[in-house]
């Protein structure tokens, strides 16, 4: 076990920052926690979808019946159940029923490539697919038993089944894109979900919370959106459409009285740009997932006021959120927004060259605590590299190496700088993509930007910027001229592509591949305007 070097001063600072322990039901499965809510809040609305509202008692009853059906279909404790269902009440019933079977839910999207899906099912040893659509998945995946949600023979039993999973066992598996190109299955324990949604410091989660489930199940923000409500006696509102329309979002937020909302950075920026009034009724807005835009945060702060927005950060491997920062007037004094302090029952360290970083020193962000995944499925090598035991100040600490790096402010707030992967070398120069983005965003005519690395014609790496403008007079050339005044020449993107909008992936993050194929791949210089 490697020892992390430290000074007494820095160790003291980390102990202060990491003083986050709070009681949480560390020995209970999500099945037990949900059933406790069903008992305590039987008549309260658990799930709301369009005009339908289902109470905790009724939701529990339906899940109990479905669990019997799933068990009859062969789903056993520990079985991985692939789940691909439209966002409707049945989806929530299914998740709870799977938990009641002691089984593991594995969200997938049938539109993913065949090979990717088969790899996922193989890695997770997934034998069952629970679906509610007409697609013929049985012929695509003959090794899996496809269970149609609507056709399953539900059991008559309405009582809670016995506990078949402990807090240590796996509750769900999320697949993330791996750097090798092969997706990595991140296994998340029941205990980690309890840690995310109990005694929460980043948002008020209790029996009065009304959370909107906007994220697809394949994106781990859904863990927060669904279980944050259902394990606290609150209400989970299911967004009624597959695609998000701001007018509809505003109506849902208002009519359903949503109190806490998570938005990806890109979607948050789009709302600030196009219709900030969409969020007028929401008391607590969490945003994160990508590097934030300073100008959007400043405008949002002006519009929504201090204390309503929370900047959150966290890799899937640490169960959705790891740090948070309530956004206030002083938040932008460092130029960009901090990602703040660890959430409850979470610890963080910044390490560079085997030493704990002092404030101002940049290092890799390491996360520890019960939110950590036990590891990647079928990938012991990756698990070994990313989940590491260190001796930190005489204490053995299992950490997740995020691959992100940042630095601490004197007050202990964490600043995000970028991915280790985003530190690129072009023509011998080390370039920080986030720094380039920040410079672009500071131009008043820029609405949104995305900076990445592409290949030039000769196969060399080159810096690319994709931007949306809110100033018709602005051109790619004038933006590059502006950047030359603010950045060294090697950091000025060689190509600036002007886009009508930045395409998003299903998880709300900017779709790099779509941008590259639509613009850079076409090699059409006219698009640079």
């Amino acid at each position: 076990m490697d020892e992390i070097r430290y000074t007494e001063e820095s160790l003291f600072l980390y102990r202060q920052i990491n003083s986050t322990s709070a009681p949480y039901p560390s020995q209970s499965s999500i099945k037990q926690l949900f059933e406790r809510c069903a008992e305590d809040f039987g008549d309260k609305v658990a799930v709301s979808y369009r005009d339908a509202k289902v109470s905790y008692r009724e939701l529990n009853r339906r899940a109990n019946k479905l669990a019997v059906g799933l068990r009859r279909a062969g789903v056993n404790p520990g079985s991985a159940v692939g789940i691909y269902m439209n966002r409707e009440i049945g989806l929530i019933v299914a998740l709870i029923a799977i938990a009641k079977c002691g089984a593991v839910y594995l969200p997938f999207d049938s539109s993913w490539p065949e090979e990717r899906l088969q790899g996922i099912f193989d890695d997770a040893e997934c034998e069952y697919l629970l679906v509610n659509g007409p697609e013929d998945l049985a012929s695509r995946f003959p090794r899996c038993q496809v269970i149609q949600f609507d056709q399953i023979t539900a059991g008559a039993a309405e009582a809670n089944p016995p506990n078949l999973a402990t807090a240590e066992e796996i509750a769900y598996i999320n697949f993330t894109s791996g750097t090798t190109g092969r997706p990595k299955g991140v296994a998340i324990q029941h205990r980690s979900i309890a840690r995310l949604v109990s005694s929460s410091s980043y948002a008020r989660l209790d029996d009065r919370v009304v959370l909107l489930n906007l994220s697809p199940l394949t994106f781990d923000a859904a863990t927060f959106e669904i279980w944050g409500a259902l394990l606290n006696g609150g209400t989970c509102v299911l967004y009624p459409s597959a695609a998000i329309r701001l007018s509809e979002l505003r109506q849902v937020l208002q009519e359903q009285g949503v109190t806490v909302l998570f938005l990806t950075t890109a979607l948050f920026n789009a709302i600030v740009d196009e219709a900030p009034e969409t969020l007028a009724s929401v008391p607590c807005i969490l945003t994160g997932g990508e590097r934030c835009s300073e100008s959007h945060v400043a405008r949002a702060l002006e519009y929504y006021g201090a204390g309503r927005m929370v900047h959150v950060y966290g890799p899937t491997e640490c169960t959705t959120f790891a740090t948070f920062h309530p956004v206030g007037p002083a938040s932008l004094t460092q130029g960009t927004l901090p990602i703040g302090r660890p959430i409850q029952n979470t610890r963080l360290y910044l390490v560079s060259d085997g030493s704990l970083c002092r404030p101002g020193e940049a290092g890799e962000i390491l996360i520890a605590g019960p939110g950590l995944s036990p590891g990647y499925l079928g990938s012991p090598q990756s698990s070994h590299e990313k989940f590491v035991d260190y001796d930190i100040g005489g204490v053995r600490e299992r950490v997740y190496r995020t691959g992100d790096y940042g630095y601490l402010l004197d007050n202990g707030d964490l600043m995000f700088q970028g991915r280790v992967d985003d530190q690129v070398k072009i023509s011998g120069f080390r370039i920080e993509l986030a720094e380039v983005s920040l410079a672009i965003d500071r131009h008043p005519g820029v609405r949104q930007s995305y900076v990445t690395v592409g290949e030039a014609a000769a196969g060399e790496r080159t810096l690319l910027a994709f931007v949306t403008f809110n100033d018709d007079e602005l051109t790619a050339k004038s933006l590059r001229d502006y950047l030359r005044l603010h950045l060294p020449g090697y950091m000025v993107p060689s190509r600036v592509y002007v886009c009508a909008r930045l395409p998003l992936q299903a998880n709300g993050k900017v779709d790099r591949e779509a941008l590259l194929s639509a613009y850079h791949g076409a090699g059409d210089a006219s698009m640079t305007r």
Partner: protein
């Protein structure tokens, strides 16, 4: 206003402990809203939303803190104590008296107009956060800090312990340090902030006690919590002066509640010893036992009279620390003695988990600690001599 059959009587010019009409109204109202739900609240560890709303609709959260109106509060507090649930009474008293007293005493007209209506109707629950892990009876080691952000308000970091209504509070009246102070003089440079408990950065953890089950005691942690500038209650850096005044009021309220609690305990004890047969005779056939109960009753009558004396002082704006401390000390300690006798004379059935005497005993032990421990009360009484 009321759907319990009759309206609260109009305030009489000279209200006193024998305002029987109002007392009758309060008993009916509590019998309708509190008693049917108290066991459920004890089980859930807090008063349910419907309970707050019900109390609010019946006007029981809107009784005055000062003047003649306070005499009605005194009756209400005694009757609330007489329900026999110290957790329930503590939760309600913190919401309606102890926490908003800072608003009533030191708030601006705008602040009162903004917040008081919801307090009085039970639409927003209030809590009071003073104690910290290292600062209880001795507040010199107060650590919760509010950094001044200028016109933007304050940023609060720290932790508070034993906050009643902690899990459900909408607003928390919070003692914070706003200016560095010399070591050991933390209240120099402290202020009172009204913190929206729904703000990001506020987290709460239940701290279940052996008694006071419905009081919903929690620890609250504040991490970078943003508080608007207009949520300062009273003057910046002057909490020391405010706290002294508010704590006197808090101890008066605690004393009145304890008086009601003793009353309930003695009624329970009396009924039991008259009915329960030992060797073919009721327990109260035993002279030694009768005399012990009579002693308790004597002490109770004296404390009760003193409680209304203190209430009258409050209604005339003349409550002092010594009076408030004497009342709190004697009432809460008598409650412990009475509860102990109640358990003892009930025998094993009084020691049974979930029995009323056992609850009274567990509850009574909390009252000599909360709001200033008995030892501190004695010290203050001696100092004020």
């Amino acid at each position: 206003m009321s759907d319990i059959g009759f309206e609260p009587p109009a305030v009489a010019a000279d209200l006193a402990a024998d305002d029987n009409e109002f007392r009758e109204y309060v008993r009916h109202a509590l019998g309708k809203v509190v008693l049917p739900s108290a066991e459920t609240w004890e089980g859930h560890g807090r008063i349910e939303t419907e309970g707050w709303r019900g109390l609010g609709e019946l006007g029981l959260l809107a009784l005055g803190h000062t003047g003649d109106e306070f005499m009605r509060s005194a009756i209400f507090l005694e009757e609330l104590g007489r329900t026999g649930y110290a957790g329930v009474r503590a939760a309600i008293a913190v919401h309606a008296y102890m926490a908003p007293s800072y608003l009533e005493m030191f708030g601006t007209a705008e602040q009162k107009a903004e917040y008081l209506p919801d307090v009085r109707l039970g639409r927003r629950v209030w809590a009071l956060a003073i104690t910290e892990p290292d600062a209880g009876s001795d507040l010199r080691h107060l650590k919760t800090r509010a950094d001044d952000l200028g016109p933007a308000g304050y940023k609060v970091n720290g932790q508070k312990y034993y906050v009643a209504n902690g899990s459900q509070a909408d607003y928390v009246v919070t003692l914070v340090k706003t200016r560095p102070a010399p070591v050991g003089r933390a209240l120099t440079g402290a202020s009172i902030l009204l913190i929206d408990a729904g703000s990001p950065g506020v987290s709460r953890c239940s701290q279940p006690m052996m008694g006071w089950r419905s009081a919903d005691l929690c620890s609250l942690r504040f991490i970078d919590v943003l508080v608007p500038a207009n949520r300062l209650l009273g003057r910046l850096d002057r909490a020391l002066v405010q706290i002294v005044q508010a704590l006197d009021f808090e101890r008066l309220v605690a004393g009145l509640l304890a008086v009601g609690g003793i009353s309930y305990c003695l009624e329970l004890l009396h009924a039991f010893i008259r009915e329960h047969q030992v060797m073919d005779s009721p327990l109260d056939a035993n002279q030694a036992l009768r005399h012990q109960v009579a002693e308790l009753d004597c002490d109770f009558q004296l404390v009760r009279q003193y409680a209304y004396h203190a209430a009258r002082l409050q209604s005339r704006g003349r409550l002092d620390s010594r009076t408030a401390s004497i009342l709190k000390l004697k009432a809460t300690e008598l409650a412990v003695t009475a509860a102990q006798k109640c358990v003892q004379y009930h025998g094993a059935r009084g020691y049974l988990k979930g029995s009323a005497p056992a609850r009274l005993y567990c509850d009574a032990m909390g009252s000599t600690i909360a709001g200033g421990a008995s030892e501190l009360m004695r010290e203050m009484i001696y100092q004020a001599w």
